[in-house]
Structure formats: structure tokens, C-alpha cells
């Protein structure tokens, strides 16, 4: 039981931190009231330097990949990281990235589809992969702070992959939990900066105990989510992953509400980055059936089928 990073993980984390702090990863309003800003330069830089391959390296492993998803989720630009870091290394074949994922044939638009080179489908019966030909994806306008798109899935050229579908589902649960914990952390940090500075009634908002306790509770929950997610990334057990995802999806609704509450009207604007995290959280908290579905899966793992 060790919570510190090993030497390789530390080195990786230090370089990752530097890349994520590059000037072009900062917040810039997008013309035309755009709700997301795809970090093309950051994506390329991380790719060229092999950051998406952490899970393939023994000394780094899937824990480091999960940590990357958590960290990358915290910049105001978005990049397709979760599938590249935690699904792509386990497909048993080389595929291009960015990558999009759909689970249980969930209907509707899929995040990162407009950027994706390929689509992975995870269902109870197996895992399939299809390249996305040029022009196949229709971008969809969305309230979420993700690039979203649809594709005629029946028209794609699918290949069945020889991988354990349960294992891939577990990895995707970890990936979603990592990204959700990351966007919540980033939103909380932005709100903390705001309430330290913003003064009303003669003192900073953050000095009011009604604000302090709710943010402190959020901090405790996000940390609990982060640690469960990392444990699940290492164990790759269905039970750990279900607990991690159910937990972070369960706390996300109230935390997101509080973050916007404390940011006040400023948080309603597209000139402040809070929405870049909170509107990703709104999608992620409902992913894979949401908290209740994850918890039902957990109950079956721990106490047997209903």
C-alpha cells in the first residue's frame, strides 16, 4: 500500500504537468459562442511524446494512464485522452487516435467523434472496432462542452476484436471516472480562486462558512473519487471500477450545482472557463447508465446477482 509515485511515474507526471501548463492550453473564449476548445496543439504534443502509451509500460502501467486522464481533464481546452490512454493500449492491435467509444450501443451523439479516427464499441457480447472514413461523421451542436458527433453505425466496417469485453468495460469505467473526477477538481479549483478574491459584505465569499463547508465537502469527495479511481486502475477489477464510477457520478450532481452557485452570474458566461468543466461533468455523470447503474453492477460483484 503506497500512495506516492515511483520514480518513472514521477518523471512522467513532471513532464505531463509541464505540457499541460503550456500557454496554448489556457482558457480562450471561442468565437461564435463556442462551448469547447479542442486542444489540437496539446493533443499533438502529448501524442508525439508517447504520453498516451503509459499503460503499455510496466513501470508506469494503467494507474499512470488513469492519472493522465485525471490531469488532462483539468485544462480548459479539451483533448481526447480517456480512450487513448486506457482503451487503445488494450485493443490488441494498433489503431489511430483520437478514438471514440460507445458502450451498449447507446443512442445519440458520441463525444470526440468529430476528431476521432476510429470508433470502439463495447457491448456484453464483444468489442468491435471501425475506422471512421472521411466525411462519415456528422458534427452535432450540443450544450455539453465536448465536440459531439453522430455516424451511421450500420454503415461502418466493423472488426471484432479478440479481447475480454468485461476487461474493456472496466477500463472504460475507470477512464470515465478519472475524467469526471478531473473536471470536478478543475471546476472546484476555479471556484476556489473566485471565492478567495470576490468580496461581498466586507469579506471574501470564501470566508463564509456556508461556502467553506460545501467546498470542503466537495474536496473530500473528489479526493475519495480520485483514490478509488486509481485503485481500480491498478486492480482492473469490475467491483473496484463500479464503486469508483458510481461514487464520482453520485457526487457530481451536487458538486456541479455548488460550483455554479458559488461562481454566481460570472459562471453563466462563456467568458469564464467553469462551463468547460461543469458541462463535461453533466455528460460524464450520466455515462454508462449513471451512478445507479454502476452501483447495481457493484452490488452484483460484491453480494451476488439479484
Amino acid at each position: 500500500m503506497r500512495f506516492d509515485l515511483n520514480e518513472d511515474q514521477s518523471t512522467y507526471a513532471t513532464f505531463l504537468e509541464q505540457m499541460l501548463a503550456a500557454p496554448d492550453t489556457g482558457f480562450q473564449p471561442v468565437e461564435g459562442w463556442g462551448r469547447y476548445d479542442y486542444g489540437t496543439a496539446l493533443d499533438a504534443q502529448l501524442d508525439e511524446n508517447g504520453f498516451f502509451d503509459a499503460a503499455r509500460e510496466e513501470e508506469l502501467g494503467s494507474v499512470t494512464a488513469a492519472l493522465m486522464v485525471y490531469e488532462a481533464a483539468q485544462v480548459p481546452v479539451c483533448i481526447e485522452c480517456a480512450a487513448s490512454a486506457l482503451i487503445r493500449p488494450f485493443l490488441g492491435r494498433d489503431v489511430s487516435r483520437p478514438l471514440a467509444v460507445v458502450v451498449d450501443d447507446a443512442p445519440g451523439a458520441i463525444r470526440y467523434l468529430p476528431q476521432a479516427k476510429g470508433l470502439v464499441s463495447i457491448t456484453a457480447t464483444g468489442v468491435r472496432y471501425a475506422d471512421l472514413p472521411e466525411g462519415a461523421v456528422q458534427p452535432v451542436e450540443s450544450l455539453y462542452a465536448y465536440p459531439m458527433g453522430t455516424v451511421d453505425r450500420d454503415a461502418l466496417d466493423w472488426t471484432a476484436l479478440d479481447v475480454d469485453t468485461g476487461d474493456l468495460r472496466t477500463l472504460w469505467q475507470v477512464a470515465v471516472a478519472a475524467e469526471l473526477a478531473g473536471v470536478l477538481k478543475a471546476g472546484m479549483d476555479a471556484v476556489i480562486d473566485h471565492v478567495r478574491e470576490r468580496r461581498q459584505f466586507g469579506q471574501p465569499l470564501g470566508a463564509f462558512q456556508g461556502v467553506q463547508h460545501r467546498l470542503a465537502t466537495a474536496a473530500v469527495e473528489i479526493e475519495g473519487a480520485r483514490l478509488q479511481m486509481l485503485k481500480a486502475a491498478q486492480s482492473r477489477s469490475a467491483q473496484d471500477a463500479a464503486a469508483a464510477l458510481g461514487y464520482v457520478q453520485g457526487v457530481a450532481t451536487r458538486i456541479t450545482y455548488d460550483l455554479h452557485q458559488f461562481m454566481g452570474a460570472m459562471g453563466l458566461t462563456l467568458e469564464h472557463p467553469l462551463h468547460r468543466w461543469s458541462y463535461r461533468a453533466k455528460l460524464l455523470r450520466a455515462d454508462l447508465g449513471g451512478s445507479s447503474a454502476s452501483y447495481l453492477a457493484y452490488a452484483t460483484e460484491r453480494w451476488g446477482a439479484a
Binding site: 500500500m1 503506497r2 500512495f3 506516492d4 509515485l5 515511483n6 511515474q9 494507474v63 476556489i192 471565492v195 478567495r196 466586507g202 469579506q203 471574501p204 470564501g206 470566508a207 463564509f208 462558512q209 461556502v211 467553506q212 463547508h213 467546498l215 470542503a216 465537502t217 474536496a219 473530500v220 469527495e221 479526493e223 475519495g224 473519487a225 483514490l227 478509488q228 486509481l230 485503485k231 491498478q234 486492480s235 463500479a242 464503486a243 469508483a244 458510481g246 461514487y247 453520485g250 451512478s291 445507479s292 454502476s294 452501483y295 447495481l296 457493484y298 452490488a299 452484483t300 460484491r302 453480494w303 439479484a306
Partner: protein, 383 residues
């Protein structure tokens, strides 16, 4: 990062489980039903702890010069986790081995060490902690019990409250003011007071958490020799801070909660009531809250094991533990409401009875939230 147990740690846990399975009596549920602070369990600890000591499982983390084996912090923690999972058969003696003993090793005189440490190491000493007062709860430094020096003695007057184990304790770890009228942290000293000293009166307080669990202790012209003072006058707060650092993570209530959850689920399964999605999902939510707390507590222990400076992780962990315990209790109350009545489900009854104290004992949860806000999130202090 590594969230797995070493083979040694896993073997150590198995050894403790074996010992408990072997040594806890058939009527242990009935004894444990009264709770770790009850007279029943305190008396039981006087039988049980000497057996633990003989097995080398009472003070394995203590230095060798005090009869321990200098075992690492993780083993000490695993021991505590298994004891609490079983309902804490050490009763109040867990305090001795966790912090009173180590504090005496660091701050005690040779005479105090010789008098008090060997009985703790043998599992035969019951202590109580004289901390809270009617006017000093969360704000402990405002305590007013006063010790006035008279020649080679101190004379103590004042009142303590919510004192666990006082009914059967032989010694009190007492905080009192020796400083000027202004009081506060700088005036606090600690005294090791024999509970049979004339002028001490103990009254049990009828409470929701079990009979004989909490007490008022009155000190009226209690005369004790200077040799009972631990450390110097004014050093009390430093010593308490050291003691609390030893006890950074508190009781592993998530472990009791998790064990209780398993037994509640087993009961619901027996009744054919664990197939409903709402029930299953709520059980899992409580379990996940326990895991969130467990990992935050483990992170504190890991820091201690690696000799890292204590950070704010313990404040976060304490909040998480309270949330976990509440989630488990809410689950039980919602789906097994009969757990509060009758005697068919003793561990459930006992758990529900005591869970109410989780956010209050050893410092209110709101104080922990204040500390998380100020120290961890660096939020400003109010006007």
C-alpha cells in the same frame, strides 16, 4: 502507487483474524452489543488484552525497550482495523496502546514510565481522558478545570464531561489550567491522576449510545503530588498535539461500517428482500462511501509509514469516515428499520445505537470541515 497488500501484511491480517476467531467467546455478540465504552466490554478487555499481549499482538508497534517489537505502522494499523471490525474487544485499552503509552514514553518521568507503562503492556490498565468540559468541547483550549500549586502538591478543582471509561478507569489523563486567569493553550498542563484520589466523583450520564458509556467527572479539592504532572506547566498543548498526531486517523469506523453492511445485506438476502434495484444500489452507495473513506485513511497511514510530515489528509479522512458511517446507518434504517428493536440483530442494534456519535466524538465534523477549508483549500478566515 500500489494499492495491494504485501504478503507480510496479508499474512499478519490473517493471523489476527485467526486469533480473534479462536479467542472471542461464544457470547461475544452479547458483550459487544453494549459497545467499546460499556462496563461489560471494559471488563472483558481485562481478560482479553492479556491474551493479546501473550500473543505479541497488544503492543507490537512499541519500541523493544518497552516490550514491543518495533513493528511498522502498517501492521499497527491493520491490527486496529481488525479489532474494530470485530467490535473492538480491547475496549478502551486501544487508547493506551495507540497514544497514552507512546506519550508517556516521550514525555513521562522515569517514575511515571515505570509505574504506568508495564500495566498497559500487560493489558491490565484502564484509563480515561479528562479533556472535554461543559464549556470546552470543540474549543478544547478554553477548558477551565484548574490545578493550583501548593508546595509539593497541586489542588484540582473543576469538571470534566463526556468522559468515556471513567466508571472503571484507574487513571485519568487530565488536562487542567495552571496558568494565569487568561487561560488558553499556553496555560494547560497534564496530570496523571489516580481515580481513587479523594475528591473525585464520577457520574454516569444516561445516553443514547449505551449505558455506562459517558460520564461527568467532578474534581473537588483533589490533592495530588507534583510528581503526577506529565511534562512541564504550559507544555500540555504540545503534548496533546503529539498525542493526536499519533492518533491521526481515529477509529476505522468505515471498517465497522463495511462489516455491518455485509451483515445487513445477508439479513436482507435471508428475507428475500435484496433483489430490488433501489435496495441494491443504496447498499453499493454505502459501500463506495466506505471505500472512499478507507483509501483516504490509508493515505494518512502511508504518509506516517514513510515518515512524511503530517499534512491535511487526516482532516479530509475524518470527514470521509463520518460520511461513510452515515451512509451505512441510513441504509440500515431505511431497509431494516426493525434493527432498532428487539435483540435478534445485536450487531445491527449496537451499530445503529452508536453511529450517532460518529460526527461528534474526537472533534466535531464541522471542525474538520473548517480545517479542510482553511488549511487544505486555503480559504480566507472570516471577519
Amino acid at each position: 502507487m500500489d494499492f495491494t497488500w504485501t504478503e507480510d501484511d496479508a499474512a499478519y491480517r490473517a493471523r489476527i483474524k485467526d486469533f480473534l476467531a479462536r479467542e472471542l467467546p461464544a457470547n461475544w455478540d452479547e458483550i459487544a452489543r453494549h459497545g467499546p465504552g460499556s462496563p461489560e466490554q471494559t471488563e472483558f478487555s481485562l481478560e482479553f488484552c492479556p491474551k493479546l499481549a501473550a500473543e505479541g499482538l497488544l503492543i507490537p508497534h512499541w519500541p523493544e525497550e518497552w516490550g514491543g517489537a518495533a513493528r511498522p505502522p502498517w501492521e499497527h494499523f491493520i491490527l486496529g482495523e481488525e479489532m474494530w471490525r470485530a467490535g473492538e474487544p480491547r475496549g478502551g485499552q486501544y487508547m493506551n496502546v495507540n497514544w497514552i503509552g507512546p506519550v508517556l514514553m516521550k514525555y513521562g518521568s522515569a517514575e511515571q514510565q515505570a509505574q504506568y507503562i508495564p500495566p498497559m503492556a500487560e493489558g491490565k490498565a484502564i484509563w480515561c481522558q479528562g479533556f472535554s468540559e461543559p464549556g470546552a468541547g470543540s474549543d478544547l483550549a478554553s477548558l477551565r478545570t484548574r490545578a493550583v500549586r501548593e508546595g509539593d502538591d497541586y489542588v484540582i478543582n473543576g469538571q470534566k464531561i463526556w468522559t468515556s471509561y471513567a466508571g472503571l478507569a484507574s487513571t485519568c489523563f487530565l488536562l487542567a489550567q495552571t496558568g494565569g486567569a487568561e487561560g488558553g493553550r499556553s496555560g494547560i498542563a497534564i496530570f496523571l491522576v489516580p481515580m481513587d484520589t479523594p475528591g473525585i466523583e464520577v457520574r454516569a450520564i444516561p445516553s443514547l449510545i449505551g449505558h455506562g458509556d459517558i460520564h461527568e467527572v467532578f474534581f473537588t479539592d483533589v490533592r495530588i503530588p507534583v510528581s503526577t504532572r506529565l511534562g512541564e506547566e504550559g507544555e500540555g498543548w504540545t503534548i496533546i498535539s503529539y498525542a493526536l498526531a499519533n492518533e491521526r486517523v481515529g477509529i476505522p469506523r468505515y471498517e465497522m461500517g463495511s462489516a455491518e453492511l455485509d451483515s445487513m445485506v445477508a439479513e436482507l438476502q435471508r428475507r428475500g428482500q435484496f433483489s430490488d434495484s433501489v435496495v441494491r444500489s443504496r447498499a453499493a452507495a454505502a459501500a463506495a462511501a466506505c471505500e472512499a473513506a478507507r483509501l483516504q485513511v490509508y493515505r494518512v497511514v502511508d504518509g506516517r509509514a514513510r515518515g512524511a510530515a503530517p499534512g491535511n489528509e487526516s482532516n479530509l479522512a475524518r470527514v470521509a469516515v463520518v460520511a461513510a458511517e452515515q451512509a451505512v446507518t441510513d441504509f440500515g434504517m431505511d431497509f431494516l428499520p426493525d434493527g432498532f428493536s428487539g435483540s435478534d440483530h445485536m450487531s445491527m442494534l449496537s451499530h445503529h445505537e452508536r453511529a450517532i456519535v460518529t460526527g461528534i466524538a474526537a472533534g466535531a465534523a464541522e471542525i474538520q470541515l473548517n480545517l479542510v477549508a482553511r488549511r487544505h483549500l486555503n480559504l480566507p478566515k472570516g471577519a
